[in-house]
């Protein structure tokens, strides 16, 4: 399929993990979308950035740790881009060194531009 024909979809993840567990089902959708060779992006902003925090151990809650999944999504599941918003990180006292996965840190202005290019924006 040519680049032009690909549908541009972005998952917008604004929710912290575990308290409200959108994360697991959002990932299930990302994996599926990746498999169909579309142009899929994932953006973490607001409390969503906590999903990428290093050192999570949700086995204490009987839950799975997805923080390292995102790199795999990009490398093996054909997700085009994974972004995390710089301002949301800063407000929460987090920096690049606090992240469990290598993702692209974008400032709000740049992320806003990316959002604007999408055909479909799915909010979680």
């Amino acid at each position: 399929m040519s680049e032009q024909e690909k549908t541009k979809v972005m998952f917008i993840c604004r929710t912290a993990p575990y308290g409200v567990a959108f994360e697991q089902e959002a990932i299930e959708a990302m994996v599926m979308f990746g498999a169909y060779e579309q142009d899929v992006s994932v953006a973490f902003l607001d409390d969503g950035v906590f999903s990428l925090k290093k050192g999570q151990d949700p086995s204490l809650l009987g839950k799975k740790n997805f923080s390292k999944t995102y790199e795999i999504l990009k490398d093996d599941f054909d997700i085009s881009n994974i972004y995390v918003e710089k301002e949301s990180l800063e407000e929460r006292g987090l920096s690049e060194g606090d992240l469990a996965a290598e993702v692209e840190i974008l400032d709000r202005n740049a992320l806003r531009q990316r959002m604007n290019e999408m055909k479909a924006l799915l909010s979680f």
């Binding site: 549908t7 979809v9 959108f22 089902e25 299930e28 959708a29 599926m32 979308f33 169909y36 579309q38 055909k119 479909a120 924006l121 799915l122 909010s123 979680f124």
Partner: protein, 116 residues
């Protein structure tokens, strides 16, 4: 225009399904096409067949089924449904259960995708 609808909240407690319903009705009246309604996360609860609200209250499962009769495609995510107990035997129509590929399909074929 073609609209795809994603519903993520369950019935009654959240207004999302009501808003989505009113949007769909208005869109169809204006001559637009609804490519499908995908029920994800707690949204799958909207299709529980055993819903039995008091008589003077709207039955969300039923008003959705009426939309379906008018040609609106309803899709209940199989994985989200299984986790929560919305399966073949408890959903209003087992044929509605399908996979996440259908959500991507809605993103591809619709001019606009709206999350409720």
């Amino acid at each position: 225009m073609k609209f795809g609808i994603l519903v993520k909240d369950g019935p009654y407690m959240h207004q999302a399904m009501d808003t989505a319903y009113n949007f769909i009705v208005a869109a169809m009246e204006a001559g637009h096409e609804i490519t499908g309604v995908f029920f994800y996360n707690d949204g799958v609860y909207n299709r529980c067949s055993a819903m039995e609200p008091p008589r003077d209250e709207r039955n969300i499962m039923k008003i959705l089924s009426e939309l379906e009769l008018k040609g609106v495609k309803m899709i209940v995510c199989v994985a989200a449904g299984k986790r929560r107990g919305v399966v073949d035997t408890t959903v209003c129509d087992a044929k509605e259960i399908s996979g996440l590929g259908q959500l991507l399909e809605l993103c591809i074929v619709s001019d606009r995708m709206i999350t409720f």
